[in-house]
Amino acid sequence: MEKLIIAGREFDSRLFLGTGKFNSNQQMEEAILASGTEMVTVAMKRIELEDKEDDMLRHIVHPHIQLLPNTSGVRTAEEAVFAAQMAREAFGTNWLKLEIHPDPRYLLPDSTETLKATEELVKLGFVVLPYCQADPTLCKRLEEAGAATVMPLAAPIGTNKGLQTRDFLRIIIEQSNVPVVVDAGIGAPSHAAEAMEMGAAACLVNTAIAVARNPVEMAIAFKEAVIAGRRAYEAGLGIQADNLVASASSPLTSFLNE
């Protein structure tokens, strides 16, 4: 399979993992390692002054993993730039999952602020991977602004509803000159496989793995689905007929005298 290249860095795995909603940091780490991922998101929160909790960072720092800090919680481009600077300082990376979703009910990204923040953050030297609407026009604008990838949503975050934006994702993939990472809403390995078969460069999965009865097994299932989908894309899928008339795959030999 072709390697995925983002901002000059090569990735063998095309599955990105989020770190939210796991029952424990230990379980999260096991799922991360089982998935084979090389890109893992991390959020930020304010420290408690009498902080005694397990530091999640030590569970995700591995030599083969690129940390991808996110800007979850910000509502404007200005707040996103501040969060990005804090993330770069805290985690020692200029890679950033830009997410600006001011509405807590649907968590849909604010396109205007996302574009504005991308422009500013690229100028500040960040490798920007913006979470965005499945809007082909917006994705082109983000690409022109210097985004390293675009990360359009399949469905609202955490819904597990699969590729609700399928047709728009197809257009985005067709038009994009940067990797298209399908983010949010992927709820089953089959959804990830479908996105990869369509030509997505990668999938970002969190909830579907974290809330599974067995997150480690689900991480493996997603790993296999992403590989299968990508392999199929590279192998070239057969053309789908536009009617239901069969096309024989075996010779129609007559065995009985008629």
Binding site: G18, V42, F82, G92
Partner: protein
């Protein structure tokens, strides 16, 4: 002196810079970032960056998230 740390009133007992606050709070060597009055202060400047009475600091660390 009294300062605000993550919106909580805190007494800075010794020193008057970000490094002394970091020492007092036992901040780890990595994985945290500090902002003073909404401006991020790189760790390399903690020792020189003075803190004044009433200043507001934000200190963040890693959290789980997608």
């Amino acid at each position: 002196m009294k300062i605000q740390v993550n919106n909580k009133e805190t007494e800075l007992t010794q020193g008057n810079n970000v490094a002394s606050l970091a020492l007092q709070l036992k901040l780890p060597e990595q994985g945290v970032a500090v902002a003073l009055n909404n401006r991020m202060i790189p760790r390399s400047q903690w020792a020189e960056q003075e803190i004044k009475e009433g200043d507001s600091l934000v200190i963040i660390k890693a959290a789980c998230g997608g």
